[in-house]
């Protein structure tokens, strides 16, 4: 097992006073808190910080830790002195997340049955249980799956404690049923699939936060779907019936005569399903066919003659 330099973790000197330790902890806790930080190793860093603070804020634990001496280096192979007896009890209050503390911590301060800090020399005090912690993972799904529902497999990396008590990044695969009508930002809860419990306590939950993969033609706002619809100038000018893709299949849309670019048309109820289903909004784009030969160029010139028109009239001072 590896020695942990708690002073280094908090970035304080060995003679730092209680206030300096508290300040350092608060600063790092804000930086690495899993609810705030998006850094991949934030959760692991935060646990290290918590473990260091748990020891250094408590004069008795700090004194015991200091007794190990100042000559150890972080990461150095460590075995507790042969006559070392942990004298610390586990009580519910103030010993949060002990389940995730390292084997090093357990060897110095004792622990409860299990692995890591749970695998130490047995909890004094007895009967102390704690629920494992929740884990949050962001998953990207296809828009089509949100529309119709699907079962999908996701891989993610999760910190796990190996049999030696070391924290390792472990790949996990999960199969999840995507409920029909899920929208971005919603969470799917997998009960009992989070961090392991402590002292026989239940495991935490895994929360999957849903995001949509970028889509080739749609973009999404809540339950509403947006689509840019290209029209030829004559379709926009004369009106037309055009086929428009929606998540539920093609529908026919009436384009009124003299439709201008940027106009939005609504297909009611064609967005993502829900108690109140979303709509699909179609934004008109007018695409000018390129003139490739003389007769086509002549045709554009004729248009200019027959229907003189100033598209920049409202830019004039």
């Amino acid at each position: 097992m590896q020695y942990k330099d708690y002073y280094q973790v908090l970035g304080v000197a060995r003679d730092a006073d209680g206030d300096a330790i508290k300040r350092a902890y608060r600063k790092l806790a804000r930086k690495y808190h899993p609810d705030v930080s998006e850094e991949a190793d934030a959760e692991e860093r935060f646990k290290e910080v918590q473990e260091a603070y748990e020891v250094l804020k408590d004069p008795e634990k700090r004194e015991a830790y200091d007794r190990l001496g100042a000559n150890w280096r972080a990461g150095e192979d460590f075995t507790p002195p042969p006559d070392w007896e942990p004298e610390f009890s586990f009580h519910g209050g103030g010993f949060r997340n002990a389940a995730d503390f390292s084997d090093f911590f357990a060897s110095i301060f004792g622990g409860a049955p299990g692995g890591g800090a749970r695998g130490g020399r047995g909890a004094h005090g007895g009967g102390f249980q704690m629920r494992g912690e929740d884990r949050q993972v962001r998953v990207q799904i296809r828009l089509e799956d949100a529309y119709a529902g699907a079962t999908r497999s996701f891989s993610f990396v999760s910190p796990e404690i190996d049999p030696r008590g070391e924290v390792r990044q472990q790949q996990r695969n999960i199969n999840v049923t995507i409920p029909k009508g899920v929208v971005e930002g919603q969470r799917i809860r997998l009960a009992g699939q989070g961090g392991p419990g402590f002292g026989g306590g239940p495991a935490g939950d895994l929360f999957l936060e849903v995001e949509f993969e970028a889509h080739a033609i749609y973009h999404v706002d809540g339950r509403d779907i947006h689509l840019d619809l290209p029209l030829a100038p004559w379709e926009a000018a004369l009106g037309a019936k055009v086929k428009v893709p929606t998540l539920g299949g093609q529908v026919e849309l009436n384009i009124p005569p003299n439709t201008q670019a940027g106009r939005k048309l609504r297909l009611g109820g064609r967005g993502l399903p829900g108690k109140v289903p979303g709509d699909q909004y179609v934004t008109i784009r007018i695409v000018t066919p390129p003139a490739h030969d003389d007769s086509q160029r002549e045709f554009y010139r004729r248009m200019a003659e027959v229907m003189p028109y100033d598209p920049r009239a409202n830019l004039k001072a």
Binding site: F46, V176, V182, I188, L190, A191, D205, H219
Partner: protein, 106 residues
């Protein structure tokens, strides 16, 4: 080493699903007094007039857990928790929109 969860194990925390106070206490593992306190601070907004009638939208579960973490880990008091939640919601929303825009830009 990988492990697989069985399909169908997930439960969607959507606004149109609701939990009673007892269900929320059970699912979150926190004391009922703490939930009541969260309601009094407007952190949770259940439907219904009094505690026996309260119906919490399912996302309240994730919110309760977050409040517990913020209070314990950052030693925040209630006004601090309320402010942190508001700012985190905003941060989260902005990050989500930012990622969506980056994906659209390809």
């Amino acid at each position: 080493m990988t492990d697989d969860f069985t399909p169908g194990a997930g439960e969607l925390l959507a606004d149109d699903r609701h939990l009673t106070l007892a269900e929320l206490v059970d699912a979150s593992g926190v004391r009922v007094e703490l939930i009541v306190e969260m309601v009094s601070h407007d952190i949770l907004r259940p439907h219904g007039r009094g505690a026996p009638d309260w119906r919490f939208p399912a996302p309240a579960l994730a919110r309760v857990r977050r409040v517990v973490r913020l209070r314990q880990d950052l030693e925040l008091n209630w006004p601090g928790v309320c402010l942190a939640l508001e700012l985190l919601d905003e941060l989260h929303d902005l990050r989500r929109r930012h990622r969506a825009l980056l994906r659209r830009l390809g």
